[in-house]
């Protein structure tokens, strides 16, 4: 099978729209998590995006385009520009593979408010095209004139990791010459935040304490209490390594393998054996032994239940080489982007490989003994021998997705 090259990176992230600046902020341990919605009964924090949609859309073009699609269009466009354009690919040979967990939450919230709460009796007329979960990928297709397969994968927190793997398969099979793959999520609205609060998975912090909010997400720490929601979009441009070389494109990294599995045990409680199957499958697909992989960008949601299970899964897959694997969850700093998490963390993993630097596992002063891992300590960023890295995404629903990248 031909190698798949990552030739473009684009992000609309809580740390901005420049992947290099995003990565530098992560290395410095800068948190983008802030208190939000003080009107809610329970303190809430999230990592939001300062997004200027006018750079991508006229006001007329914004009719029926939810924030989740706006950010997807922007991130995909940045990725294509980073790749130097589509470079003459026939439109029907360009595909879009997008992940999205929820769809247009802003449009849905506005519809409920205008239709029910305010007594207006009707909702904005474009509510349906705004909230449908496949709208982001379709808007990307229209903007980039991608006329090949345009698919949306809604696999909760694994959505965009699955999308990237499916895109790579399409590239390998020769179904597309170029794949624009990633995901977007934008659900920081009061109703959805309250729904996540009700799930008891969000990090706790004292009301009104911005510093405590910024450090509230503590993956693998003994005092962890959950994650903070994030929003944003991230896309990668994938093409065969042969095509990239032929057109003289720079490859940030190679997407060397991927693994999928389902726990098939519980809708929301993860299982180590299922995650380990996906990890092993990804390593096998990449033709790598555990000892050859130097870094894992963990799913690491900082929940009481999830983190030790992820540790156990890594231990099952890495065996005696577990201590050689450096691990960090960057969700401590950019929040949990849910359907876009796999894509953003794939970008971060690619940059870690390209730069041979590792973002820290922030806010973990006292690691939990049940999460015994070789965590990346703040400041210990250099990884001069790094050759391969994995990014894990484990979803509600039990679906697990692991991506393996190698240096180009």
């Amino acid at each position: 099978m031909s190698a798949v090259a990552v030739t473009g990176l684009g992000v609309v992230s809580p740390h901005g729209e420049d992947p290099q600046a995003l990565f530098a902020a992560l290395l410095r341990g800068e948190s983008a998590v802030r208190p939000i919605f003080p009107e809610l009964a329970k303190p809430a924090a999230a990592a939001t995006v300062a997004f200027d949609e006018s750079r991508w859309f006229t006001r007329l073009q914004l009719a029926g385009v939810d924030r989740v699609s706006q950010m997807a269009v922007a991130a995909a466009d940045l990725a294509v520009k980073d790749a130097g354009g589509l470079h003459g690919a026939a439109p029907e040979r360009v595909g879009v593979f997008g992940g999205c967990g929820m769809g247009g939450a802003v449009a849905l919230e506005a519809a409920y408010r205008s239709g029910m709460a305010t007594g207006a009796g009707r909702v904005p007329p474009l509510t349906v095209p705004a909230f449908m979960p496949n709208a982001p990928a379709s808007h990307v297709a229209m903007r980039q004139q991608a006329q090949g397969p345009v698919f949306t994968y809604s696999v909760a927190c694994a959505s965009s990791a699955v999308a990237i793997a499916e895109a790579a398969k399409a590239v390998q099979r020769g179904e597309v010459d170029v794949a624009i793959a990633g995901g977007s999520e934008a659900l920081i609205v009061p109703g959805v935040v309250m729904a996540w609060q009700a799930m008891q998975t969000l990090a706790a912090f004292p009301a009104g304490d911005a510093q405590a909010a910024a450090t509230a997400v503590r993956p693998f720490a003994a005092d962890r209490s959950g994650f903070a929601l994030g929003e944003g979009a991230a896309f990668l441009v994938l093409e065969s390594a042969a095509r990239a070389k032929a057109r003289g494109a720079r490859a940030h990294a190679l997407l060397a393998g991927w693994g999928h599995s389902c726990d098939a045990t519980h809708l929301t409680k993860p299982e180590a054996a299922g995650q380990a199957r996906a990890l092993r499958m990804a390593l096998d697909a990449a033709g790598l032994a555990p000892a050859e992989v130097g870094y894992c960008n963990a799913h690491g949601t900082a929940t009481k239940i999830g983190d030790p299970i992820e540790r156990d899964a890594l231990a099952l897959a890495w065996g005696g080489d577990l201590d050689r694997l450096k691990v960090s969850s960057t969700k401590a700093l950019h929040g949990h982007l849910l359907g876009a998490a796999g894509a953003l963390e794939a970008v971060i993993t690619v940059l870690a490989l390209a730069k041979r630097q590792l973002p820290p596992n922030a806010h973990c002063d006292a690691p939990d003994a049940a999460c015994a891992l070789n965590l990346v300590r703040p400041g210990a960023v250099d990884a001069p021998d790094l050759e391969a890295a994995v990014s894990s995404s484990f979803a509600f629903g039990g679906s697990n997705a692991v991506l393996v990248f190698r240096r180009a």
């Binding site: 006229t58 006001r59 007329l60 073009q61 007329p125 474009l126």
Partner: protein, 92 residues
Amino acid sequence: MSSSLKELQDLIQEKYGIDPATLDPNESMRDKGFDSLALVEFLFEIEDRLKISLPDPDPSIETLAGLAAVVDRVRAQQADAGEPAADTSAAS
């Protein structure tokens, strides 16, 4: 000339930032970027702002002048039916 045209032009400027001078009332609105979805949204906005109820989207509405004529007609029908004038007080 339609009495509603100026109001629609002002609404387009306010909502979309489009200068009336760049939108010839007798040219196709679609050619200016008003696809079917944008037009539906605009029709809802007209109904909310002018406190009128437009007929279901009429595919024959191609131009802003044509749209203004429909609004004029609806207003005239509402006046004939003795409905309240379409000013802000009607909403209270």
